[in-house]
Assembly symmetry: C3
Homo-oligomer: 208 residues x 3
Amino acid sequence: MSDLILHILYVVAITAEAMTAALMAGRRNMDWVGVCLLGAVTALGGGSVRDVLLGHQPLVWVAHPVYLLLTAAAALATVAIARFMHRLRPLFLILDAVGLVVFTIIGCNVALEMELPVVIVIVAGMITGCLGGVLRDILCNEIPLLFRSELYASVSIATGGLYVAAISFELPHDAALFVVMAFGLAMRLLALHFNWHMPKFVYTEKLH
Amino acid sequence: MSDLILHILYVVAITAEAMTAALMAGRRNMDWVGVCLLGAVTALGGGSVRDVLLGHQPLVWVAHPVYLLLTAAAALATVAIARFMHRLRPLFLILDAVGLVVFTIIGCNVALEMELPVVIVIVAGMITGCLGGVLRDILCNEIPLLFRSELYASVSIATGGLYVAAISFELPHDAALFVVMAFGLAMRLLALHFNWHMPKFVYTEKLH
Amino acid sequence: MSDLILHILYVVAITAEAMTAALMAGRRNMDWVGVCLLGAVTALGGGSVRDVLLGHQPLVWVAHPVYLLLTAAAALATVAIARFMHRLRPLFLILDAVGLVVFTIIGCNVALEMELPVVIVIVAGMITGCLGGVLRDILCNEIPLLFRSELYASVSIATGGLYVAAISFELPHDAALFVVMAFGLAMRLLALHFNWHMPKFVYTEKLH
């Protein structure tokens, strides 16, 4: 039951991530191919980096190309409805938070199935949740937002940590999943609302 | 027969890609090591990304290091003949188009041998054809040209699609290869000549 | 014996690399999460790229997550002691040179154990020694220093070449390791001191 919900939320979240990335492509005047590629890389890139680093073959979109087509199509559709997107901004911020939490849990699950150490389980969750946005920012020639935005990677790490704890205490799976998702979602939305940030490290001397 | 021609064109194309990348390194005042590295990464990077994503080991240049030496040497040689390169510009634009088509077909072949889905065959072709240039642009700190240039990824996708169709109709291999290559080459050169572009997506509102 | 020293120097070097990367994160006002991530990616990225390209699973930090925690912690600790770091500059330049040589030898060893061709052994050393810094520069939105700094990749290639030669001549392992490390370290420190550079390739005409 909870696995079905997780899967549905995954599909919703990759669609939303692709659409948000499409807007970023539009702000850089990319062409339609660039829009599709940036959408697909952003939505599926985190899971791909995780699988490449963990040696977990085949990658999700190689085994299920439908996700690739879905994200490319969602990005392209965004071109048509771009003029309404600013009204949907609150919705997409929530969907992005859902994606962060769902991707994190799915990433943890992959590492758990491979019986990797706890630290790697949490890192696998964080890579899945956050790396898509890092790839997007590199392709857009920006310093990744992840490195200086409101709590984002931290939410992913906390969510993954709580999930691993819930599993090690052998909580009922459905209940654990619900609690962890609610926690991660709340933490991210509160961080957005109250503009919580990690402290910044400001260093002005030149080393090199 | 056609496989031999494909192989010869592959060697010519990686050499040409390495030399074009060397010029780009020169415009950023990189040193000779940077020139060699950028040349090799541009020429062999697309195939490497494909193999890493598909879990197709060993990578071409690991199994055949001669390609690595060839591309590094070609990039370095470009330093010596740079003053004549602007006269060769038309030749290198044609060789770049040949490379795009040949890399695409080789990428499709790798995915076909792994018996992957049709969508992934075409995507494997596109990654092989286009990702070297994306890596080059990232290393040069530019937004990838691929995302906003004349038809490039589109040519690769169309070429791959036609190739997959030809194979599924069981056309004679040599004839299929010839037709597909002629199609891809013509499409790319016409796009260059007439300055065909994909429509751009221009979005000016801030989402974040 | 020499293997133990190599291992100790490896641990010292990844710690130092993470701390230097943390300063670079600080100059870009990244937050604490960004500092940890940039530190870990810089210190462990070269070996990770090598393992992904060679299909050498599992990656070092996946098998031994303690290295991941160590580098993240070292990067974070740098925030606290940043004000003293400029006095330690000479120490960190030496540790960076040690890291370059040690990473190179370790990378060569991985490729040697996989019985790869000599060229690939040397390239594996260079990737291990140099790619962490390239990833750091890409994430900081800079053209990689590697492509235009004093002898760095060249030191790695020369060190790897000498190491492969020493192995093929079947020199005693401990002696070989000592000589190769002394050579690489001397070459790098002399390059730093005398400001040796590879010749630059300056090309001003536009090809595209």
